[in-house]
């Protein structure tokens, strides 16, 4: 091997290492960029999915009331239209998996039919809850990215808030159902109440939660507000009279 080849090797090997390192840096930078762009697009999807969850939660409550003997189907119908509008916006985002969108649409139709068939309110709530849980899982999948940014942190915190909100909705739904039927609490319902409350508190008190100051203040105001206290009182009432029932004279859970 002559000197020129040796020198070429001497220069070429670090140059090649530099090229590989640069390529890796570019790849990482590009991945960060792609993650940032994905996160940006996920933010819109997250927004639509949050609205959809919010609408489905409303629809779940109204449908459960209707299924339990209510007569204001027009209110249910109106909510379903609102939900459909949001669903259309959600599905129309374009970056959502077609299968998921189709499955969610089919589930919504199926649970609505259950409502029309006047099936058991618990079953309707459970179906809505599973549907909302699927959307929450979808939301969680949006936060699974390699990039670590403020936006992702906010998104994760928002996911916790969404989960707390859903748990709170389920807690209220179960509580309302118990109070409205004024019957002793079944063991499964008792466990559900405990679990949902624990989830609400765990998510809201999570140390990784990272929200804007206004949002934190709003949550704190909510937890310190009368509605929250009434809910706590109602839960305490249910727990204390779980075996006997007869809650109607004491308290009524706040409808969200």
């Amino acid at each position: 091997m002559n000197l020129s080849k040796k020198l070429l090797l001497l220069v070429g090997i670090p140059l090649l290492a530099f090229l590989i390192d640069s390529w890796q840096l570019l790849t990482l930078t590009h991945a960060d960029y792609v993650s940032a762009m994905t996160l940006k697009s996920s933010t819109g999807i997250f927004m639509h999915s949050s609205e959809l969850i919010n609408e489905l939660q409303k629809e779940r409550g109204l449908s459960a009331i209707y299924a339990s003997g209510g007569d204001n189907f027009a209110e249910v119908e109106s909510q379903r239209k609102s939900s459909d509008l949001i669903l259309a916006a959600f599905v129309g985002v374009g970056k959502i998996d077609r299968k998921l969108a189709g499955a969610i649409t089919m589930d919504i139709d199926r649970v609505r039919e259950m409502t029309l068939a006047s099936q058991a309110p618990d079953a309707i709530r459970r179906e809505y809850s599973q549907l909302i849980a699927r959307i929450l899982d979808f939301q969680a999948s949006l936060t699974r990215t390699d990039v670590s940014t403020e936006a992702l942190r906010h998104l994760n915190s928002l996911l916790l808030v969404e989960a707390a909100k859903e748990s709170l909705g389920q807690l209220r739904a179960v509580g309302s159902s118990i109070l409205e039927s004024d019957r002793p609490v079944e063991q499964g319902e008792l466990f559900a109440l405990t679990e949902f409350r624990a989830r609400v508190l765990a998510n809201l008190d999570s140390r990784v939660i990272y929200l804007e100051a206004e949002s934190v203040a709003a949550i704190n105001a909510l937890r310190a507000g009368d509605d929250w206290k009434e809910m706590e009182i109602a839960l305490a009432e249910i727990m204390s009279k779980a075996e006997s029932g007869d809650y109607l004279n004491e308290a009524a859970p706040h409808q969200t």
Binding site: L3, S4, L7, L8, V11, G12, L15, F18, L19, S22, W23, L25, L26, T29, H30, D32, Y33, V34, S35, A36, M37, L39, K40, S42, T43, G44, F46, M47, S50, E51, N54, V147, T149, E150, A151, H154, L155, S157, L158, V161, E162, A164, K165, L168, L211, E212, E214, S215, A218, I219, L222
Partner: protein, 544 residues
């Protein structure tokens, strides 16, 4: 918990995501730009760096290959003071040194051994080797010159000696041929003598046999004579018996006659017979008497014959003894003659061999003479070749204090050009004298014993005489006008040396450094002032 919270948070998130995306694109672009820039700079710098190394190194390699191929004329441009620049400068200086040494080597090859050069450093192996080579060549050429001069003289002497030897061998061969022919004659005569002696020995043997036979016959004859003598005595006794018988017969015839007479006529016949018997007895008696006489005479003769036979037998015995001695002597003479003949033959053979050897010696001597003449010619050629070399003197000696072309640096008399007169043989002799004088100096300085000084002094004196004799011979041959005064100077120095040497030998005077100082003053002065005067004269006369 109301949607506005989520909307607010989502708005914040969207803003942050936009910022992250903007930052990401900015980071990506800046990374691409930085990487591309760094890559370009690195490639450009690498190319410059490689060119900056490879080009000068390539030039260095080409120069080194040129130097390897013997081309020392190329040089490298020195454009920097870094390692490559220093290497180029060092290679240029190396080429300069090599070129300088190559030029010196060319001079040496051209025969100039007076070259002088400085070493690049103490570790300049090539320079040291060249210097050593020059010094050794100086020594070698000087030695060859001396040796050639001596060889020339010796070859001439060998040629003369060989011719003389050849001539002597021829004469010896002629003498040997004469001796050989004489020896052949002697050989023939000796052979004849041996043959004659052998025949004489044979005759002596025959004589000895004859005398022995005669002695034996004489003994037989003596015996026969003795027997005859005995027979004579018996015959005498028989004759006496016969006489007695004749007497008795006579008596009987008488008696018969008586009787016959008595018988008358009847006895007449008987008487006649008796008469006849008486007559017969008478004749028998007479015959017996004559026989007795004859026997007596015969006995006398036989006795005398026996005596003569005895004497003859004795003489024959002496003859036999003499014959035996003669035969023995002749046998010895014959053996000696044979041995002499064999010796003469061997001498002849030896002479023949000597003759052959002599003839061979003669041939060898002729060949040796021819070879010596050829050697003389070759020596002349050698001297012509060696004369092309210009030998260094003092400068070279100064260059190395240990080894010089003429001797040691500590020699008080330096042999050099100033002491050379241009006549090789005389220069060689002068150099020999200088060496001997320096040897004497060193021996004196080292305080060597008289036993060590004596051979030096002796050789110095002898060689001085030899040299002066040669010079004087040349001057005399050429009719040198200043010959007398020159010879006088020679004689004076020889006498001085002789006195020193004799005084030293007789232990009458020691040798001091002043003796050497005298030689040291005299020798160079004589060579440079006196000897150089005759050079042109000798050369003009063609004696050298």
């Amino acid at each position: 918990m109301r949607p506005p919270l989520i909307k607010r948070e989502l708005a914040v998130i969207a803003k942050e995501a936009d910022e992250a995306a903007d930052m990401g694109i900015n980071d990506l672009l800046s990374s691409i730009l930085l990487t591309a820039g760094a890559l370009l700079i690195t490639i450009f710098a690498s190319i410059r760096l490689l060119n900056g190394i490879l080009q000068p190194v390539g030039m260095v390699v080409r120069l080194a290959e040129d130097v390897c191929a013997g081309n020392l004329s190329n040089r490298l441009p020195v454009n920097s003071s870094d390692e490559i620049g220093r290497m180029a400068d060092a290679l240029n200086r190396m080429s300069d040194e090599l070129e300088q040494k190559a030029r010196l080597a060319e001079k040496i090859a051209g025969g100039d051994l007076t070259v002088n050069f400085s070493l690049a450093s103490e570790k300049d192996t090539l320079g040291i080797a060249l210097r050593s080579m020059v010094e050794n060549l100086n020594d070698l050429i000087n030695s060859i010159r001396e040796g050639a001069a001596l060889l020339e003289n010796m070859s001439v002497q060998i040629a003369d000696s060989s011719q003389a030897l050849s001539q002597g061998a021829s004469e010896s061969a002629a003498s040997l041929e004469e001796i050989s022919s004489t020896m052949v004659e002697i050989d023939a005569q000796t052979s004849t003598t041996a043959q004659n002696t052998d025949e004489a020995r044979k005759i002596a043997d025959q004589t000895m046999s004859a005398s022995k036979s005669g002695t034996e016959n004489m003994a037989d004859m003596t015996q026969a004579v003795s027997s005859i003598h005995d027979s004579g005595k018996q015959i005498t006794r028989i004759v006496k018996i016969i006489e007695d018988i004749a007497f008795q017969t006579n008596l009987l015839s008488l008696n018969a006659a008586v009787e016959a007479a008595r018988a008358g006529r009847h006895g007449k016949g008987f008487a006649v017979v008796a008469e006849e018997v008486r007559k017969l007895s008478g004749r028998s008696a007479a015959a017996a008497k004559e026989a007795a006489e004859m026997v007596s005479n015969s006995n006398s003769n036989i006795e005398r014959g026996a005596q003569v036979a005895g004497v003859t037998a004795k003489a024959l015995g002496e003859i036999e003894n003499g014959s035996i001695k003669t035969a023995g002597l002749l046998s010895e003479i014959a053996a000696a003659s044979k041995e002499q003949a064999a010796g003469v033959s061997q001498v002849a053979i030896g002479l023949s061999q000597i003759d052959q050897v002599t003839q061979q010696n003669s041939a060898y001597a002729e060949e040796t003479a021819a070879a010596a003449e050829e050697l003389t010619g070759q020596v002349k050629n050698l001297r012509e070749i060696v004369s092309k070399f210009i030998v260094a003197t003092g400068k070279q000696e100064e260059a190395d204090p240990h080894i010089t072309s003429g001797g040691l640096a500590s020699d008080p008399i330096k042999w050099g050009k100033e002491l050379m007169i241009g006549i090789n043989k005389i220069d060689s002799q002068h150099r020999r004298l200088v060496i001997l004088a320096n040897d004497l100096y060193h021996a004196l300085r080292e305080g060597q014993a008289s036993s060590a000084l004596q051979p030096i002094l002796e050789e110095l004196a002898d060689y001085t005489r030899t040299h002066f004799s040669y010079e004087e011979q040349l001057m005399q041959q050429s009719g040198y006008p200043d010959f007398v005064s020159h010879k006088a100077a020679h004689t004076k120095l020889v006498q001085k040396l002789e006195d020193i040497f004799q005084g030293f030998k007789a232990n009458r005077s020691g040798i001091g450094i002043e003796t050497f100082n005298f030689i040291k003053d005299w020798l160079p002065s004589h060579i440079m002032r006196t000897d150089k005067k005759y050079v042109s004269h000798l050369q003009s006369r063609g004696v050298v």
